[in-house]
């Protein structure tokens, strides 16, 4: 079992009336709400929290890419990963990831990931998300009709840039390069392990399964609702005839650990509520550009994580509902251990990612959550899936 500490880097200072006064935390969130002096401090906090997680024994540190948004102050996860290469030495640096279609040329990703792999001594996991519609279609203006096609082509170019022995010409539909030849090349051979974060689209399951990559479901709705998506992935794996090694899968779960179940509510409820009510407050019109998902996926019934339907589902949730419905696994160490084990087994997930800094949670509380998790929970789930080999773990990580 590999356990990773995931950080979204949320802006912690949105006004109390944010979700009533402003329609969206993403795309057109007004930047008069942003205080640069506060964010200067937040970045140091966030990096402290990631470094603390390594010291506490987490196997990996996860960062990711989002744009135009107050819920994740990380348009470039590569910068954060670069900062971490110098202050950490054992943990995998899981960059989940670079939205390939947004880079022109996508060789930039091959180069920066190669640099990160070298800087970290082979600890990089290369994540390639298609990217959310808010990020790709709205913030970056990429046509939803061709986003996926661009993504696939960019992926092919990056992998070729890492693996072909000689200079090559790449005559793509979206990128033409006469002399593809990146310097430096990555440390890991043939290339860093590839993880694909997805939101439940049918196309991504099948593609990931065929290419033998790790599929990561970054869900905010918890393991109970994540079941259908992960089942869909495992069915795709079966269709391509691959084995059912749990390390093919990653899953993100929000977790809050405290001394007792009651204390967990006192400690964490305001921050969890901030996350669900403010950080996921996305205007319906931005939730999905027309054509972002294929009709096939829309008809498969997978719902978007944000937008009108999602808002309705999480409106006026109280602590009991967040916990009962599995959005958050929270409580005493015993409660968390029991539910997390259920999560890991029911989803068949070998790479567990936990979100321990949630919403408006300040550093001291994030440290408490991290420390309790590492001390009271981690040792009890470590041995899950011990009979399987993790073929998708970076060779330079401990």
């Amino acid at each position: 079992m590999k356990i990773c500490f995931f950080h979204l880097m949320p802006y912690r200072f949105l006004p109390d009336d944010f979700e009533r006064t402003y329609r969206s935390v993403w795309v057109d969130v007004p930047h008069h709400l942003h205080d640069a002096d506060k964010t200067r401090g937040l970045y140091q906090e966030f990096l402290d929290e990631l470094e603390f997680a390594e010291a506490q024994g987490f196997d990996g540190l996860c960062v990711n890419e989002h744009h135009n948004n107050a819920y994740g102050l990380m348009p470039s996860p590569n910068l954060m990963a670069a900062a971490l290469t110098r202050r950490t030495s054992k943990a995998a640096l899981v960059v989940l990831g670079n939205s390939l279609a947004a880079y022109n040329p996508p060789l930039r990703v091959a180069e920066e990931f190669a640099m990160l792999d070298l800087l970290s001594g082979g600890r990089l996991v290369a994540g390639f998300p298609v990217g959310t519609s808010m990020d790709m279609n709205f913030a970056y203006g990429i046509n939803p009709a061709t986003l996926r096609d661009r993504y696939y082509e960019a992926h092919d170019l990056v992998i070729q840039a890492w693996t072909r022995p000689d200079v090559f010409a790449f005559n793509g539909k979206y990128t033409q390069v006469r002399y593809a030849n990146i310097w430096p090349q990555p440390l890991q051979k043939p290339h860093p392990p590839v993880w694909i974060p997805g939101g439940g689209s049918v196309e991504t399951w099948e593609w990931t399964a065929k290419l033998d990559y790790v599929y990561c479901y970054l869900s905010y709705f918890g393991y109970k609702r994540g079941r259908a998506t992960m089942d869909g992935f495992w069915e795709a794996i079966a269709r391509v005839g691959a084995d059912d090694n749990p390390f093919r899968a990653g899953f993100l779960q929000l977790v809050c650990v405290s001394e007792t179940d009651a204390q967990a509510e006192r400690d964490y409820f305001p921050h969890v509520h901030y996350f669900y009510q403010k950080c996921l407050n996305v205007w319906e019109g931005f939730a999905e550009a027309p054509g972002y998902r294929t009709v096939k996926t829309v008809q498969s019934g997978t719902r978007a994580q944000v937008g009108a339907a999602a808002r309705k589902a999480r409106q006026s949730l109280d602590w009991g509902q967040y916990v009962d419905q599995g959005y958050v696994i929270a409580g005493s160490p015993a409660t968390v251990r029991q539910q997390l084990t259920e999560c890991i087994r029911s989803l068949r997930v070998g790479h567990l990612m936990v979100l321990l800094q949630i919403g408006s949670m300040p550093k001291e509380l994030a440290f408490k959550n991290t420390e309790l998790f590492a001390r009271e929970v981690m040792p009890h789930i470590r041995d899950e899936w011990s009979g399987y080999k993790d073929r998708w773990w970076p060779s330079g990580a401990a």
Binding site: N137, G141, A145, G285, A289, P290
Partner: protein, 261 residues
């Protein structure tokens, strides 16, 4: 009722469903991507004076090719190929909203195709100080208020998509998504694909028709079009962005006057 036929192009990579009715000089109509039905009272009026041909854009109402067409230029080439396949050398071209943009592209890239050109609140130009509404993404209730002068009028209510969960509503929602997804292929994220650099090539007599209460594509754009197409006239009619369906008879009369002039 109009006749329907399907014209395949490029070995089947693109197919246009074309509705046809009436008699007289050929008139090709390019719809807005927002109609629920490929035929309308406006076309009935036109069919009294013209041989009306109404192809549906790719992705809706039986037309295909969104995946294989590259972009707006490729769509324009496909429409040129369609006219050839229909045996139409020159025609009166009429287009509404996105269809106005398509008709203007066709008349700019192939000036000899157009005998006259009527553009009804065409998209295709951009002004930072008067941005068109983002109609591709507006939720259904907000969209109706932007498209129609009076969203409570019978024609607007009939057009509306139910947001409920019964099978008719769901089918209509999927259809709406397909329309907007298809249009996005050619118009995302801003419906300015360089038309302003080509409009000087248009040689046909040109009429702009605008709803006086157009909230989707403000009437200031009429000036922009008039500035770029020599001699283009403007007719304001009572209506919103869907003026063709709010004032179909007056709009059809304006087309006929231009064609007869």
């Amino acid at each position: 009722m109009p006749d329907a036929r399907t014209i395949e192009l490029r070995g089947g990579a693109v197919a246009f469903k074309v509705l046809a009715a009436g008699g007289g000089a050929p008139l090709v109509y390019f719809h807005s991507y927002y109609e629920r039905s490929a035929w309308s009272p406006f076309l009935d009026h036109l069919a009294r004076s013209f041989s009306v041909l109404a192809p549906s854009h790719p992705g809706v109402a039986g037309s295909t090719g969104v995946e294989t067409l590259e972009d707006l230029l490729d769509l324009t080439l496909a429409y040129d190929e369609l006219l050839t396949a229909l045996g139409v050398e020159r025609a009166h071209l009429v287009g509404h909203s996105f269809g106005g943009m398509a008709a203007a592209e066709l008349a700019a890239v192939f000036p000899s195709r157009a005998r006259s050109l009527t553009l009804v609140s065409p998209l295709g130009l951009w002004r930072d100080d008067a941005q068109p509404a983002d109609i591709l993404i507006l939720p259904a209730d907000e969209l109706a208020a932007v498209l129609w002068r009076d969203p409570a009028s019978p024609v607007a209510v009939e057009w509306g998509v139910g947001m409920g969960g019964d099978p008719d509503d769901i089918a209509a929602q999927v259809e709406s998504l397909q329309r907007r997804s298809s249009m996005a292929k050619f118009a995302w994220p801003i419906p300015d694909k360089g038309l302003h650099r080509r409009l000087h090539r248009i040689a046909a007599p040109t009429l702009l028709v605008w709803g006086d209460a157009d909230r989707a594509n403000p009437v200031v754009y009429a000036e922009e079009w008039q500035r770029r197409i020599k001699g283009a006239a403007l007719r304001l009619l009572p209506g919103g962005h869907m003026v063709l369906h709010e004032a179909p008879e007056a709009a059809a009369r304006a087309v006929a006057e231009l064609a007869g002039s």
